[in-house]
């Protein structure tokens, strides 16, 4: 098998699996699990094969694998089924494959009793195929196809528990907000193709990086338009609001889509087209500000969340901010490094959170902080999640430390003016925001760990052991979480060749910030945890022995009823509440961005809809009714003429023929 064939099969296998699964899933329930797992496994194996054959060892000297075929002539700008596998694509594909496999295997246990499992698994497979397509594609239009398929899959999967109102509105919100970014994205693609005359990514990059290549005509416009789509897909401020709400979907979906892969697509896209963004300093500045606001804001919001998955969701937003920050300072190696590391440990965190939610019977941190013994019930999840949280907080020697240090190092590099084409202000913005976020990240990671695993109160009831499939997946993901960062020495060979080794300054600063944040949070927790016993709080799932997904769905559905809000809980024992002070109220709601959107978009749209409804009812309907009534009235008039009196008929007939005859005579006479 040639490398090209293998690379083609990587997106194709899950796609076929999804088709067969959608078509035959209901009729052959026995085949659903193999159909879900095996194509993904095979695709992952092929992705690894491609990566091994393609990259590594020779640095940027390795020519990217490039193949293309043209199905049909599409006019002035050709659209090709093109493939471009370089080091970035190979590694990201491996990440996607591994996480997708883990999620599929995990789902067999997590959704074991779910009646809609077959369609769920098929959609996950379809999603995997689409992501692989985005990763490997060399053509912007083909990439867009994968991009949009991911969007629609995300819509269906977030709405998997469509019985709950939260899931319904969350899926709609996710779809609409990402589409809001996708429209400028599409226009940006067209403008880019109009400027360069091609949809080929490698062609555009070659043209922009080679010395003879002409610069773009509208670099800032293109970059900003593309940035809108990226902000929507990668959940960057101000289009990030859909991601926390998307946690209403099943946990494996959150792990796959909203942590490891789909949201990374935006970052990956910028990494592929970085030269386009580098040609516009304004776009880089916007990117840096966006990243900074996203990082800090989401970290503050994460401190105030009560739902464990929403904490992780905001942390995802923040980590994606790191990646865009790295891109803003022009270091795509660091960005993709962080992307892969984050994908691994965030998938682990989410999958572990799914286990925790089932064991605790709730998704509320406040309720968990009033339970004891959770660690003993789920030791596998405890240890893996602990390590993953350490990685999230960037504590050495775990993956997150190295990748985050690469980002901060690149930012420092740019801030001190060592990177060409990057304004120093951009570097400073990213560096300072990144350091502040490191502090906050460690804070909320510590908060999550302390509240979830160190609760005091009633012991957690025993719901039996978790399925082997789920625990095994946790340990599989544990390996890259713990060890991937150590590959910092080898990774530059896969990427652009720039060093990803942590520098001393940023390492000390970043780790110091992280330790400070964790210590402050620990102190606050010591101060507040005593109050937990005094304020009883919490609700647990009604069916603790059912499958994990059932517990989760019930927890999501009851959170607002039990705690007054989807996001927060009135818990005085929450250390985050103590530390944030008056800011807590705003942070819990994501700094009222939803309210702003509501005022800016939802209400005008509703008003416009009301107007349209009124116009439709009162104006257009009137026309319709008029059109219906006019023939009716005319018919009534004609009915009245049907008297049955033959003489009347005859009179009318004769009068008419007389008029006709006179007219004919006059015409014949030429009068």
């Amino acid at each position: 098998m040639t490398t090209t064939t293998a690379a083609v099969l990587v997106p194709l296998l899950p796609f076929l699996g999804a088709l067969v699964g959608l078509g035959a899933g209901r009729r052959a329930p026995g085949f659903v699990r193999p159909l879900a797992v095996l194509p993904t496994l095979a695709a992952t194996a092929l992705a690894v094969l491609v990566a091994v054959r393609q990259g590594g060892g020779e640095g940027s000297g390795t020519a990217p694998l490039h193949a293309s075929t043209r199905l049909a002539d599409t006019g002035s700008v050709p659209v090709d089924l093109a493939l471009n596998v370089d080091g970035f694509a190979a590694l990201v594909a491996v990440l996607v494959g591994v996480v997708a496999c883990c999620v599929q295997i995990y789902s067999t246990g997590y959704l074991r009793d779910d009646p809609r499992y077959s369609s769920y698994a098929a959609l996950v497979s379809l999603f995997t195929a689409a992501m692989m397509l985005v990763v490997y594609s060399d053509d912007l239009i083909v990439l867009l196809v994968g991009w949009e398929i991911m969007g629609i899959c995300s819509y269906f999967l977030v709405g998997h528990y469509w019985e709950t109102a939260a899931a319904r509105s969350a899926s709609l919100k996710a779809f609409l907000v990402t589409k809001l970014g996708d429209v400028p994205f599409l226009i940006g693609l067209f403008v880019l193709a109009g400027d360069t005359g091609t949809f080929s990514i490698s062609g555009i990059v070659t043209r922009l990086t080679s010395d003879s290549g002409a610069p773009l005509d509208h670099p800032t416009l293109i970059a900003l338009l593309l940035l809108a789509g990226v902000a929507g897909k990668s959940a960057q401020f101000p289009l990030h609001t859909w991601l926390p709400d998307a946690m209403a979907g099943p946990t494996p979906v959150s792990a796959l889509i909203h942590a490891a892969t789909m949201v990374a697509a935006g970052v990956y896209f910028i990494a592929r087209l970085l030269p386009v963004f580098l040609s516009s300093a304004a776009a880089l500045a916007v990117l840096a500000v966006m990243a900074a606001v996203t990082m800090v804001g989401s970290a503050l919001a994460a401190l105030a969340q009560d739902d464990i998955k929403r904490v992780l969701a905001y942390s995802t937003v923040g980590q994606l901010g790191y990646m865009t920050g790295a891109l803003a300072v022009g270091d795509r190696g660091a960005a993709v490094f962080h992307l892969i590391a984050h994908g691994a440990f965030k998938a682990l965190l989410f999958l572990g959170a799914g286990v925790i939610i089932h064991a605790a019977g709730t998704n509320s941190l406040a309720a968990m902080s009033r339970m004891s013994g959770l660690t003993k019930r789920i030791p596998d999840a405890f240890w893996t999640v602990t390590v993953a949280l350490l990685a999230l907080a960037a504590i050495p020697p775990f993956a997150g430390f190295f990748s985050k240090e690469a980002v901060l190092g690149a930012a420092e590099h740019a801030a001190t003016g060592h990177t060409a084409d990057i304004p120093e202000g951009v570097g400073w913005t990213v560096l300072l925001a990144g350091l502040l976020t490191a502090l906050l990240t460690a804070g909320y990671a510590a908060r999550l760990w302390l509240m979830a695993f160190h609760g005091k109160g009633e012991p957690v009831p025993d719901h039996g052991k978790q399925p082997v499939a789920m625990n095994a997946v946790l340990w599989v993901l544990f390996v890259p979480t713990a060890a991937f960062g150590l590959g910092y020495g080898a990774l530059p060979d896969w990427f652009d060749g720039e060093s990803l080794t942590p520098t001393l300054t940023t390492s000390v600063l970043g780790t110091g910030m992280a330790l400070a944040g964790a210590l402050v949070m620990y102190g606050a927790w010591r101060h507040t945890s005593a109050r937990a016993a005094r304020v009883p709080l919490g609700a647990v799932a009604a069916h603790p022995d059912a499958a994990d997904a059932v517990s989760e769905a019930e927890a999501i559905a009851t959170h607002e009823a039990a705690y007054g809000s989807v996001a927060a809980a009135p818990d005085p024992a929450d250390p985050g509440r103590l530390l944030l002070g008056p800011l807590h109220r705003h942070a819990a709601t994501g700094f009222h961005l939803d309210a702003v959107y509501g005022a800016l978009f939802v209400r005008p749209v509703r008003a416009a809809a009301g107007l349209v409804r009124f116009l439709d009812r009162e104006v257009i309907e009137t026309y319709v009714r008029g059109f219906a009534a006019a023939p009716g009235l005319f018919g009534a008039a004609v009915r009245r003429a049907q008297t049955g009196n033959v003489q009347t008929y005859l009179g009318a007939l004769l009068a008419g023929s007389l008029v006709l005859a006179v007219a004919a005579v006059l015409v014949a006479a030429g009068a």
């Binding site: 049907q642 049955g644 009196n645 033959v646 003489q647 009179g651």
Partner: protein, 133 residues
């Protein structure tokens, strides 16, 4: 003789018959008016035949045929009028309104009781006929 005289006379007779057909209520009077119209046409035929000196006498032959056909028509027409009168009890043209659009259901039929073509009405009319005959 000026041709306009018979032609104008025929026109006026025809229009008189026309008026009668449209204005008369009794079916037999309508038939009389039809006869007037036919005669007007006959007059035209004869006048033009005489004027043109047709060797085949087509106009006069056609007049004869028209007279015969008119006679047949009056016979059949009277038979129909009698039949209608026997069935409906009336020979008034404007009360024979079976062609009328039936009034919407629910509204009472005001003066259509006679004209409504029900078998009942026909059966009721027959005894009346018998008594008077």
């Amino acid at each position: 003789m000026h041709l306009a005289y018979p032609a104008v006379l025929a026109v006026l007779l025809f229009c008189t018959g026309l008026y009668g057909v449209l204005a008369r209520r009794n079916a037999i009077l309508v038939l009389m008016s039809v006869e007037l119209m036919l005669n007007a046409v006959n007059l035209n035929l004869v006048a033009f035949d005489v004027w043109l000196r047709d060797t085949l006498h087509a106009g006069q032959a056609l007049t004869l045929f028209a007279i015969a056909i008119a006679a047949a028509e009056i016979g059949i027409g009277l038979a129909i009028v009698l039949l209608v009168h026997r069935n409906r009890g009336t020979a008034d043209v404007d009360r024979l309104r079976d062609l009328a659009d039936p009034p919407p259901a629910g509204t009472p039929a005001a003066d259509d009781s006679v004209t409504a073509p029900t078998d009942n009405g026909a059966d009721e009319a027959t005894p009346v006929r018998r008594q008077t005959a």
